[in-house]
Amino acid sequence: MKKALLSGLIGAAMVATAAMAEPKSGGRINVVVQPEPPGLMLGLIQNGPTQNVAGNIYESLLRYDKDLNPQPSLAKEWTVSDDGLTYTFKLHSGVKWHDGEDFSADDVVFSADVFLRETHARFRVGLEHVESITAPDAETVVFQLKNPFGPFLGMFEAGTMPIVPKHIYEGTSFKDNPANATPIGTGPFKFEEWKKGSYIHLVKNEDYYIDGLPYLDEIYWQVIPDAAARAVAFETGQIDVLPGGSVENFDVPRLAGMDNVCTTTEGWEFFAPHSFMWVNNREGWTAKPKFRQALMYAMNREFMKDVIWNGYAEVAHSPVSSKTRFYDTDVAKYEFDPEKAKALLDEVGYDGTPVRILPLPYGETWNRWAEAVKQNLDAVGVKTEIVATDVAGWNQKLSDWDFDLGFTYLYQYGDPALGVGRSYISSNIAKGSPWNNVSGYENAEVDQLFADAALKASAAERQELYTKAQAQIVEDVAAAWLLELSFPTIYRCDVKDLVTTAIGVNDGFKDAWLDR
């Protein structure tokens, strides 16, 4: 007993010294990227894997700690005027692009006002509140708002507002610019090589504007398409870090139990990944609200949570995640009730027309999930078909509205005005993107509630409006919410300071170091 206590103390002491140890420079780290991203130009593509990699190449003005408080990034300090209309950012000096050109406030203005306005649907929602973006001098940027916008200071995250080089993109067709293949950012790591199907190689940015950072010499983002092979690669030591979601859930307990392996579910606070099925509100049986309610009652989401996600999730009851601000704890809940589902189906007179389920092609977990949903629906008499497809086909089918039920999960970005409204407001219905209001849900009242809530300055007033909006959307079942996911990051314990921000590994390599 005494011995155990003693060794416990020694262990604790060792942990303490490790935590206090001076970061060491150097080293190479191998990380899994899953699936292989379609591209790395963060201003154009905001897929999970793209943000994983490119968040270390591109930067925005701010970072966020795990409580979503803003921290300096490209901006070293910032002030907000008392009326909430003027946001002034002071930028770091001596910042250079990876190609050696000087970075200046003009790049910020170009990125926000020109580039992202054209390419970034989610950022555009925020831009609607912006009167002007100006650069009074090379190291100052001023955002002048038309009206107070509560979540505005949450918009300066790398995936939301990546700063892109004006000297490369100005006057070109952004989507077709050949430079998209070799991303140029200001971040701690530079793009070196992308061997398609094999790895993405990033190297240390020697000219980084913060002395001493980053510590690592290089990062290899390994592409390993097979889930079992990814787990094995981690076990054999080829891989140091498995970002959240890159191994199958049923492998997590086994890998987490290995020696010298640490896990954390932190680093996702900003995203609060919310999984749901887009439900085509336009045509077919899914256009009927009662039918959609029946779908909700038919699904055994507790089972999905426990079995498919091994408990690494919570049942999602609302379009707003319980981790996001302004979640309404009293929102009506659709409990698993097959009888009620059948009754509703009888009421709408469902005739047995098959409903197509489009799974998210992100691996076995998601395939099993689609099969579980299919079984739940079959059990209450809804005929279903699973439409097998790859990532490109999934993008295509959702973009073309060629689906009945389409799996997805979206990030919430800390505030309903940033991460939730976009999926439900009617002004965001447009073909060609799988990231807007894909369901085609239209409700003028909801539109108004989201519009009003974003503009209120007081949190209490915003809560009242968001509570109403949630109640309405939940009653209409604008989408079929499944689970609030949590993605444990699994890494070797000698990788230090990896998850320090609310977006985890997406910008974590700035501070990470290897204790080897």
């Binding site: 049923f250 799974p359 395939n367 579980a372 079984q375 699973i386 439409v387 097998a388």
Partner: protein, 279 residues
């Protein structure tokens, strides 16, 4: 016919194959009666090992589906895919081979170059491409397997026709004014049928393997339970739950083995002289 049966039954391997295949066929036929629920239904807790629960002799898979039900319903899929795709392959390969072999000359050249075109493409790669284009569905898979497996039929039939068309009875038929179609299908084909039957039995086996491989890769019909799918879905959890992969794997092994044994037995029985010489 009696001699044929005697010859066939003399081959012990063939008899064993026949018994194995009969079991698979019977299971496939009675599957809806012994497992009336869909094999996709989640009936129990997931990851239950074999025999751990009453009535679940093969255990349950990652979602709590009964592996036994999957095996039984998978047998239907495998056999249907095997038979139908072989039939379609015969329908394509037979006429092409027969016409090429019978008419010879320019027809032979054209048809054989066409056949070789398909033979030069690795068949599994071609099958994947076809399924990817057609979207994964049962009919698409059957078509893909047929398209990649007809060339050997055409070549075999052509060879048989080349040697048979110079026989006296064919010459006599030509002289007596029978139409070429009549000669091909009523005179020569019945005499060429035994190697085709042997080949067909082996083609059923390889079609079952192809379907399993496609399903394993996730290119199977996502609405149809097949053995290949079961292995593919269970592969990631092989270390926690061996039974999810092993049982369907054994099912494929024994079915394909049975078909091969039968094919060999047929070969011996249909060519008795060749067989005895070989022993």
């Amino acid at each position: 016919m009696n001699a044929f049966m005697k010859n066939f039954l003399r081959n012990k391997g063939a008899v064993a194959g026949l018994i194995l295949l009969s079991i698979v066929v019977i299971v496939a036929v009675i599957a809806p009666f012994i497992y009336p629920q869909s094999p996709w239904t989640m009936v129990q807790r997931p990851f239950q090992p074999p025999m751990a629960l009453d009535g679940f002799y093969f255990g349950t898979d990652v979602l709590g589906r009964d592996i036994g039900a999957g095996l039984a319903h998978g047998a239907r899929v495998s056999l249907i895919v095997g038979l139908v795709s072989t039939l379609v392959a015969l329908l394509i390969g037979l006429p092409i081979g027969a016409l090429a072999g019978y008419f010879g000359g320019i027809w032979d050249d054209i048809l054989m170059r066409f056949t070789e075109f398909f033979q030069t493409i690795p068949s599994f790669a071609l099958a994947i491409v076809i399924v990817a284009i057609l979207q994964p569905s049962l009919s698409g898979i059957v078509l893909a397997i047929s398209i990649v497996s007809w060339p050997p039929v055409a070549r075999l039939v052509r060879g048989e026709f080349l040697s048979l068309r110079s026989r006296e009875y064919v010459q006599a038929a030509i002289l007596s004014g029978l139409s070429p179609m009549n000669i091909i299908f009523r005179q020569i084909l019945p005499n060429a049928i035994s190697p085709i039957i042997v080949l067909a039995s082996l083609m059923v086996a390889s079609a079952i393997l192809l379907e399993s491989a496609l399903s394993f890769l996730g290119l199977g019909d996502p609405n149809v339970m097949s053995w290949g799918y079961m292995i593919g879905a269970g592969r990631t959890v092989l270390r926690q739950a061996w039974w999810i992969c092993v049982f369907p794997g054994l099912a494929i092994l024994f079915t394909v083995l049975a078909l091969n044994l039968i094919g060999e037995g047929l070969n011996d029985a249909l060519n008795p002289r060749l067989a005895r010489k070989g022993r």
